[in-house]
């Protein structure tokens, strides 16, 4: 019996004008998405490929261990996702790479000390020369969030209220059909009706994209695509359930249409765009750039002062009664030759490097890197926490949930950026470990990392240097999408149950 109801629903919907319009609109949007992707993706892949090659070549050119410690692993680039056509993810507003930060050097007592590489999370400034007017990105996220929520409502607003108004519902229930069976039949019939044009449009999209040799989908990508279709089906199901619930609770189709439109505008348009902004008002503010710099300056000053005092003590112990720069200045005014000779002697003492000096320098450099990275990380964590909280609040809307789930599965957006940062952290750890171990393997090295004379002077084989490779793994994408997937299933259950309860209690 249920199959009979599903067939009847399908037949009714497929013969309607709204079905034809759905097919046309979804196909047009999916083809547009594919064409735009064909134009943009090769450029993205080419840029990435050129940049990682350049970065790898630069790294290869560093054959000294000290140069590796000082300049670091080079620019670390985020791999573009082959499924970027599914979710843009606002990637233009997220850094595409992590590059070497600023460097410093100090001189004076103890000779010259130069900074070592530290992890500096970049900022991003979308291309300022791009004067094009802002236009909505037609990706799958747009199509699914807006159309796969709106179209189910168009098919369901009169599913029960319309039949009730015409009297066919009473007639139908006069037959040996239970209400749950009728409701499930209508639910499945409408869902399949919505999914037929969607799957057709998806196939059209994938066919166009497959023409391009730049987008080659792996088995994992196809797996992700299958899950994305599941997510889309789940999302469409939520709105079919919502439509049936409202339709069951109202007596006239026009009333249910108005109510559904209001809910749709609130849930799909208003909530995702405003809840995040509103939620930030009640969040603790993130440190401003000036506050961050002041905090860093204070922390660095402390270790610098400590280094200066300890180095002075070492030098005074080795060569007592050294003149200061101001004393030299005064001496120059009376006897330039004597001042120059004293300056020469002073420089000689400063530049002499014993184990004590090397140790102090290595400590300074290590402390500097630790402080900078710790403070950078704290600031980044605060920023991430703010975004996470805003995302948690916007999850009140199913549109936001599906957007986050699709971004995670497509390997773009915020979650993908967090994965990239994780890869960068792992690589940084591995890279530093490589430097320490290579230095340790050289028995002639004094093992003071970060100082030219304190490290192994043996050339480093370029093949041995760890290479950074950012990969998009299926397990990572799935894990980050799990919460959103579960929420979607929960919402589906809630709305289908709601429709069931309302229909059971309503009069026919």
């Amino acid at each position: 019996m249920i199959w009979h109801i599903i067939k009847r629903e399908l037949f009714d919907h497929i013969n309607s004008l709204r079905f034809i319009l759905t097919v046309v609109i979804l196909s047009a949007l999916m083809v547009t998405n594919a064409v735009v992707h064909l134009r943009a993706h090769p450029k993205r892949v080419r840029n990435y490929s050129e940049k990682i090659t350049k970065s790898a070549n630069e790294l290869k050119s560093r054959s000294e261990l000290y140069a590796l410690a000082r300049k670091g692993p080079g620019d670390l680039y985020k791999r573009p996702s082959s499924l970027a056509f599914i979710a843009d993810g606002g990637d233009a507003y997220l850094p595409k790479n992590i590059s070497n930060g600023e460097s410093w050097s100090i001189s004076g007592q103890g000779g010259e000390v130069k900074s070592n590489w530290w992890l500096n999370y970049g900022t991003v400034n979308p291309d300022a020369t791009d004067l094009r007017p802002y236009a909505t990105k037609i990706d799958w996220v747009f199509i699914i969030t807006y159309l796969l929520s709106f179209i189910p409502l168009l098919f369901t607003f009169d599913a029960l209220s319309g039949e009730r108004e015409q009297g066919t519902l009473r007639l139908c229930l006069a037959n040996p059909i239970s209400r749950p069976v009728l409701l499930i039949g209508k639910f499945l019939g409408t869902l399949i009706t919505v999914l037929i044009p969607f799957v057709f449009a998806v196939l059209l999209n994938l066919t166009v994209i497959s023409v391009d040799s730049w987008t080659q989908l792996s088995a994992a990508d196809w797996g992700r695509l299958a899950l994305i279709l599941l997510i889309a089906s789940c999302y469409a199901g939520i709105f079919v359930g919502l439509g049936l619930m409202v339709s069951a609770g109202t007596r006239e189709p026009r009333v249910s249409l108005v109510v559904l439109l209001l809910i749709w505008v609130a849930g799909v348009i208003f909530m995702p765009s405003t809840l995040g902004t509103l939620s930030t008002k009640w969040m603790p503010p993130v440190q401003t750039m000036d506050q961050f710099r002041d905090a860093r300056k204070a922390a660095l000053k402390q270790i610098n002062d400590d280094y200066g005092a300890r180095m002075r003590a070492v030098k005074e112990k080795k060569s007592p009664n050294l003149p200061s720069l101001s004393e030299l200045q005064k001496l120059y005014e009376t006897s330039p030759e004597a001042a120059m000779a004293a300056a020469e002697k002073l420089r000689g003492t400063w530049e002499a490097e014993g184990d004590e000096e090397l140790e102090l320098k290595a400590e300074l450099i290590k402390g500097d890197v630790e402080i900078r990275e710790r403070l950078n990380r704290e600031r980044l964590d605060a920023q991430i926490a703010q975004v996470q909280r805003a995302r948690a609040v916007t999850r009140l809307s199913p549109a936001a949930i599906v957007q986050y789930a699709l971004e995670s599965m497509a390997g773009t957006g915020f979650n993908r950026h967090l994965q990239y940062l994780e890869h960068v952290h792992q690589h940084t750890k591995q890279f530093r470990q490589f430097i320490v171990e290579t230095d340790r393997a050289d028995i002639q090295s004094p093992h003071f990392i970060g100082v030219p004379k304190g490290m192994s002077q043996k050339p480093v084989a370029s093949e041995a240097i760890p290479k950074f490779e950012d990969k998009i793994a299926f397990s990572d994408t799935f894990n980050t999408a799990t919460l959103d997937l579960l929420l979607l299933v929960l919402l589906l259950g809630v709305f289908v149950s709601g429709a069931f309860l309302v229909f059971i209690r309503s009069e026919v």
């Binding site: 100090i106 001189s107 004076g108 010259e112 020369t129 791009d130 004067l131 094009r132 007017p133 236009a135 720069l325 030299l328 200045q329 120059y332 001042a339 120059m340 300056a343 002073l346 420089r347 400063w350």
Partner: protein, 407 residues
């Protein structure tokens, strides 16, 4: 255009005097404009134009490549201008002190703007010509006939004996190819900027070769007391700060330094203007053109039309951004005029502080007034009109359908 010059040059070299007159007639105006811009004196610019052509005809046999005549003539005109500035007696400054009537100022500003626009078109044409060389012959001929000779697609088809669709597809492919060459425009802009700086360096060297000044331009061979100090590395360093005080032995060199700064100051400003022009052309031919094309396409949608109308009303559209850029450019011109009026570059205070500090009390301040509502409304009118048109079409359609349906 170049071929015509080449023909004329060949005729001149074979003794045809009419060709001389024709060549002068062809280039007299822009040479005069260039000289006028260089020296700011209309009548002296006429003399320079005359001298430029005399010099050019004298040296014409030495011109190896006749197709490069324009650039060669440009260099001669510039050299003549610089020579005139060098010869200009100091008393000529009294001209600056003369009150300029507002009308004259207006004409001059208008002239400069026209001149800039002309230079922009010329350079753009050159860039397009260079890019055209990269197209296959079939596409190039269609592009030239359609865009340069102004023939319609049908006329081009008739001329080349190909179908209208072939012409259209060739035009489409050629346009696509030219778009891809947009990057090349950027690199050629970089080359142009590099050339401008090379020219500055060359003129500076030329100036210094005929001057008693020696050493680095920061202090030349002036008598400047040094301040000595020990750096944190323990090295003795000598510094010549911005507060440079001149010793008495510097006096004979001071006029030369003043002349150097007067010449170089003007040269740097001119070069900066040229560079700005090159960058503007690059922006116009890439980002701006792209933006305008996108905007036009987006206007097919009523939603975008509404967005553009609202932006124009609110004063947040692209036009308003250009208003701001124009205001900044205007301010830059004001500042440059201010420096010129004060003879700042040629004054002693420009490089030495022994006669007291510079008084900046009347330095013009930047201010930007947003366009008024009427201007915003005018800008929004086309989109507003289109929106009304859509309304009208939809209403008429509804009306017609409604009158024809049976009730």
């Amino acid at each position: 255009m170049k071929n015509e010059d080449v023909n004329l040059i060949q005729r001149i070299l074979s003794g045809d005097e009419d060709a001389c007159a024709a060549l002068v007639e062809r280039h007299r105006e822009w040479v005069h404009s260039l000289a006028w811009r260089e020296i700011g004196d209309f009548h002296a610019a006429q003399e320079i134009t005359q001298d430029t052509f005399i010099q050019a005809f004298k040296s014409l046999p030495t011109l190896r490549d006749s197709s490069r005549f324009l650039g060669w003539l440009y260099m001669i005109a510039k050299r003549q201008g610089i020579e005139w500035l060098r010869r200009k007696p100091m008393t000529m400054q009294s001209l600056d002190a003369m009150p300029k009537s507002e009308l004259e100022q207006l004409y001059y500003t208008q002239y400069l703007e026209e001149e800039q626009a002309q230079a922009s078109t010329d350079t753009l044409r050159e860039v397009v010509e260079r890019l055209l060389q990269k197209l296959p012959e079939t596409e190039r001929s269609v592009m030239v006939l359609h865009y340069f000779n102004g023939l319609t697609c049908e006329e081009v088809g008739e001329r080349l004996d190909v179908s209208l669709n072939t012409v259209k597809s060739r035009l489409y492919r050629a346009r696509k190819r030219l778009e891809q060459e947009a990057r090349a425009i950027h690199s050629s802009a970089d080359q142009q900027i590099e050339q401008i700086w090379e020219e500055v360096d060359r003129e500076e060297r030329q100036f210094l070769a005929n001057s008693p000044l020696e050493g680095e331009p920061r202090k030349f061979n002036l008598d400047v007391p040094q301040s000595n100090s020990f750096s944190s590395k323990g090295h003795l360093s000598r510094r010549y700060g911005m507060d440079m005080k001149l010793g008495t032995q510097s006096d004979p060199l001071v006029p030369h330094v003043q002349k150097y700064h007067a010449t170089m100051g003007a040269l740097y400003i001119r070069s900066a203007e040229q560079i700005a022009l090159v960058r503007k052309q690059t922006l116009d031919s890439t980002s701006l053109r792209q933006s305008i094309r996108h905007e036009r396409l987006m206007k097919l949608s009523p939603a975008s039309l509404y967005t553009f109308t609202a932006a124009a009303w609110a004063g947040t559209d692209l036009e308003c951004m250009f208003d701001f850029v124009q205001a900044v450019q205007g301010y830059q011109r004001t500042i440059v005029d201010y420096f010129h009026d004060k003879d700042a570059f040629g004054s002693r205070k420009w490089f030495a502080s022994d006669r007291g500090a510079v008084d900046w009390w009347d330095l013009p301040q930047f201010h930007f007034d947003r366009t008024d509502v009427s201007e915003n409304a005018t800008r929004a009118l086309p989109e507003l009109f289109l929106l009304l048109l859509i309304n009208l079409v939809l209403f008429t359609g509804t009306f017609l359908i409604f009158t024809k349906i049976e009730v």
